[in-house]
């Protein structure tokens, strides 16, 4: 009788939870890989970013002799600057994909099945974020290194650059990190606003509009506000060369971006736990 009760009781709560997270990660991996549009979008994103970066770098270098001395100087100072094309192409889509990982659950009703399976919703969000982060990191790092290597081959005659140069490896690797955390920021925004279109608007607002607008703010306060906005701070890690006007070091900047993402993910977990689905 006692034995039966013990067996029926199953594993303790701690054990159950530890076992659970691995399962949740596996389930979220199944979710992300089994929606064809996600897989396609990610593939197109990677190919487009690498391709256009290569093309624009080649076009730019073709007119090297006609470039002004200042521009040349800029390129020479931070040879990873030519990664900006790939970065600009990739950053919004990665945020949108992050947001859609969760908004698509709301628009299709899948969220109800998800929450029925995992009624304590924070672990579900954590597993989703972990799986998306892994996917975004692989894609972002692939874009970063492929773009760097292809562009390196094109520009080497004018701008000698190598991964072993100081800070270059950090900048290229940092691009993958930046895209990953930015994508997580998108995921958090998606979880907070729940609608794809609204999430998209907020993402573009935060990543592009606010970042650029804040740069126009006057004075030291304005400078600080601009420097601590998520995209502005996070971008520092993708630069091999620091500007004298930078208020944060590359890793500090990345830390600020991570804090933003953590803050918004925390808010998302809180809201997910409280709101009806």
């Amino acid at each position: 009788m006692t034995t039966a009760t013990v067996i029926r009781g199953g594993p303790g709560p701690l054990q159950a939870h530890r076992a659970c997270f691995g399962r949740l990660v596996r389930a979220e991996w199944t979710k992300i890989r089994s929606v064809r549009s996600t897989v396609w979008s990610l593939g197109i994103l990677v190919v487009t970013a690498i391709g256009l970066n290569t093309f624009i770098t080649a076009a730019g270098i073709a007119g090297w002799d006609s470039l002004s001395a200042a521009t040349k100087q800029g390129y020479l100072a931070d040879p990873t600057g030519f990664l900006a094309v790939a970065l600009n192409i990739a950053q919004i889509p990665v945020c949108v994909l992050g947001a859609m990982v969760i908004t698509s659950e709301y628009s299709t009703g899948m969220i109800r099945a998800s929450v029925l399976a995992v009624p304590r919703r924070t672990p579900m969000l954590a597993a989703k974020a972990a799986v998306f982060a892994a996917v975004a990191f692989v894609a972002g790092t692939l874009v970063a290194f492929a773009s760097f290597l292809s562009a390196q081959a094109i520009i080497s005659s004018h701008i000698p650059v190598s991964l072993s140069d100081p800070a270059v490896l950090r900048a290229v690797f940092g691009m993958g990190l930046y895209l990953t955390v930015l994508g997580l920021l998108g995921l958090a925004i998606g979880a907070l606003v729940r609608h794809t279109a609204a999430a998209l608007t907020v993402v573009v607002g935060v990543v592009v509009v606010l970042s650029n607008l804040a740069r126009t703010l006057p004075g030291a306060v304005g400078q600080h506000i601009a420097a601590y906005l998520p995209a502005n701070a996070g971008l520092l890690i993708t630069h091999a060369h620091q500007e004298p006007t930078d208020l944060l070091t590359p890793w500090q900047g990345f830390g600020v971006l991570c804090l933003w993402a953590a803050l918004l993910l925390g808010a998302a977990a809180w809201s997910l736990g409280r709101r009806d689905v």
């Binding site: 089994s34 929606v35 109800r112 029925l116 399976a117 995992v118 409280r274």
Partner: protein, 318 residues
């Protein structure tokens, strides 16, 4: 076992569920009946932890849904609203749910064949017909072989074959010893499937009793009488307290006096009766009347009619 204690939920200004308490026991199909907008879906969402109640609490097997370790192994739910990603195949949908519960892919294939989805398992859920979608929902509900099933309007909109399939499935699941809690707005549907009924209107409990008892209490016996002296007979039976409605020149529907007594009265007065047929008012009518009462008289017992309905149902509850 499902337990709801004093559940309330307000949406905006509207009280969708109003201090609702009931218990659903295993081994039978419990019908959850009420007109559209009575609060059935909301109650089910509260049971399943999708919404938080404003007052009260719900538990399944003694624990709130949110505290269940692998909830799909305890409770299977079919919601009325869609609950699958349209871009994912049926099999992958079930697979990702199974993985959250530590269930093996074999179980996914089992429920796919149980739900008759084998042919479409690798097609995307977005292209499914209503019936297919319902089968996918049932497959998801059965995934963890749960002891409790909560099904929201499972037959709504289905073709006769689909309706029959769901009916038989529910009966089989209850016969296995599971608690099957199924909502519907159709009294007749519940009369053929449910062993027990919980009836609500405007979020309030109206009845909680075995289906047979509900039918006995709520379908008032009527007698159809065909006679050439309709007016005279009407007078006789109304003096005995009957209510009579006249259909055509020689047909009466008598409520409140049993058929043998009508025959005696007619014989004593030497009235020729061509036809004397005891009838049961349709269950659907009784249900409509009951819930209409709850809609008209929002405040229980505030009117004569409301009071009568309440006493009638407290009788059926006891």
């Amino acid at each position: 076992m499902i337990e709801a204690r004093n559940l309330s939920k307000r949406y905006g200004g509207k009280l969708a569920v109003d201090h609702l308490s009931f218990t659903v026991t295993p081994g039978k199909v419990t019908g959850f009946l009420g007109p559209n907008g009575a609060g059935k879906s909301t109650t089910m969402r509260l049971l399943l932890g999708l919404d938080r109640p404003d007052t009260g609490h719900a538990s399944i097997g003694g624990r709130p849904y949110r505290d269940l370790a692998d909830p799909l192994r305890t409770v299977g739910a079919l919601l009325e609203a869609k609950a699958a990603h349209s871009g994912r195949t049926a099999r992958n949908h079930l697979l990702c749910l199974a993985q959250t519960q530590g269930l093996l892919p074999d179980r996914v294939d089992q429920v796919i064949s149980m739900a008759g989805l084998s042919a479409v398992a690798r097609r995307r859920a977005g292209g499914f017909s209503l019936g297919m979608g319902r089968r996918l929902g049932i497959a998801a509900a059965l995934l963890g072989d749960p002891g409790v099933l909560i099904l929201d309007e499972p037959v709504n909109g289905l073709d006769p074959e689909g309706v029959l399939w769901i009916r038989n499935l529910m009966k089989r699941l209850a016969a296995d010893g599971r608690a099957v809690f199924v909502s519907s707005h159709l009294m007749n549907e519940m009369a053929v499937t449910a062993d027990h009924l919980i009836v609500i209107g405007q979020g309030r409990l109206l009845a909680d009793c075995p289906t047979a008892e509900f039918i006995d209490c709520n379908s008032k016996p009527q007698v159809l009488v065909k006679t050439s002296k309709a007016a005279q007979l009407t007078q006789l039976v109304t003096s005995e307290g009957a209510q009579v409605s006249r259909n055509g020149t020689d047909v009466l529907t008598v409520t409140g006096v049993p058929a043998p007594r009508i025959a005696e009265l007619a014989a004593a007065a030497r009235i020729v009766v061509y036809e004397l047929t005891p009838q049961r008012a349709s269950l659907e009518e009784a249900f409509l009347e009951m819930t209409a009462g709850s809609l008209e008289f929002g405040d229980h017992g505030s009117s004569a009619h409301g009071g009568a309905t309440t006493s009638q149902y407290s009788r059926s509850k006891s």
